[in-house]
Amino acid sequence: MGRLLVSVRADSLAVSQAEHVNRHGPLPLGPDLISTVEASGLRGRGGAGFPTAQKLQAVSEQRGRRAVVVVNASEGEPASGKDRALMRSVPHLVLDGAVAAAAAVGALEIVIATSRGARTERARLATALGERRERVRWRLETVPNGFVVGEETALLSALAGKPAKPTLKPPYPYERGLNGAPTLVQNAETLAHLALIARFGSRWFRSLGSEREPGTTLVTLSGAVLRPGVYEIELGTRISELIAQAGGPSEPLEAFLVGGYFGSWTRDASLRLTTAAGLGAGVVVALPAAACALAEGARVARYLAAESADQCGPCVHGLRSLADGLEQIATGRGGDRRQLERWAEQVVGRGACRHPDGAANFVASTLSVFEHECADHLRHRGCGRRDRGVLPVGAHDA
């Protein structure tokens, strides 16, 4: 089943504009896009799951300066590859969505933010932009690699030539964003859905997925499966069904990480993948039973601590302490699980952005889902399994 990925070419080159229009039809630019999007129930696919229509509405209501649209294609999550897949294979779907959103909020300028490592994607977007004829000003920009760069205000800072660090909200980007203009920041996949909703309407969008969570979503599946990669699934699909699409497990599995590094672990393969279940930006990792979950988790905790923007005390110190503590348990050097749980609670809501919240959630989930492994590590100084590097922590490089 596919909507976004239905026109992907077998040779994995980018779909040209002619092929794209041939497949999906021309992009209509009606005045009621916002109400159509509202009726569709589309939520942002960048991780937070915020209703897209509310964002469009908030920007369109701003008076004074002309709005700007920013395509957030930074995809800083190491285990995520879905936005890159869209840009490489169907760039016009993302560009269509940006044009439709710009028309809806009255913007004449569209800025596409790609991460430094996304060279192939940038080249394909540049080619695709050369095929477009709209009266908008396009800017194809490069932002640093990094986990926090995708946070809206950090992204806008980077685009303005400042360090890619989050700023205090309010003001929100919809009020005062890129260079002070009201700014709509939307994830690349969200815009691709928007491009199809603008064509086929809200009822079409709702014909897949559930009443509460309509539509399809892209999932980046990695870990111990036969065919890791980017899949388009109906919201509400079970983990087991996704794994089956990927050819099944490549070895016995222990657990699944759902929602990436701000997400949570589960051992329940019948879990339905929804925003409410914490799907976030659509990352699912299948952890093999032969890997040490705590060592894998500790490595991610260390990575998240290092990815802190180094601005807010509870994030800088809290995430470092959490990584230290989880590492201590993972390496069989004792440790205090209760204290880690207390710290994980303590840092929530105390940064300028949600980085500490997400990182603490990941650590708390690791401690609770792998409770027995923790006890085992504390009692037997480890478990004999090792860190297999299943959870990636490096930046993407194309």
Binding site: Q54, L168, Y172, N187, W343, V347, R350
Partner: protein, 74 residues
């Protein structure tokens, strides 16, 4: 009448003066950074809250009428 305390966590350096001046509403975490009670500061503590705001060396604390609640991140 301003009534809630709001912290700029980027500006805050964890001097901890606020927690000394208003222990009823502000405590420090294990790293010395303030944890602030999100509820309205009651009338009998308003003067102390105003002092905590004034004495913060980083000007990281403010008294605000109400918080903007919606966040459109994502």
């Amino acid at each position: 009448m301003p009534s809630k305390l709001r912290l700029d966590p980027i500006a805050c350096d964890g001097h901890g003066i606020c927690a000394e001046l208003l222990p009823e509403w502000i405590r420090l975490d294990d790293w010395g950074y303030p944890i602030i009670d999100p509820r309205r500061v009651p009338a009998h503590l308003q003067a102390h809250a105003a002092r905590a705001v004034k004495e913060c060396p980083k000007l990281a604390l403010r008294l605000v009428e109400q918080r903007a609640e919606h966040d459109t991140t994502g």
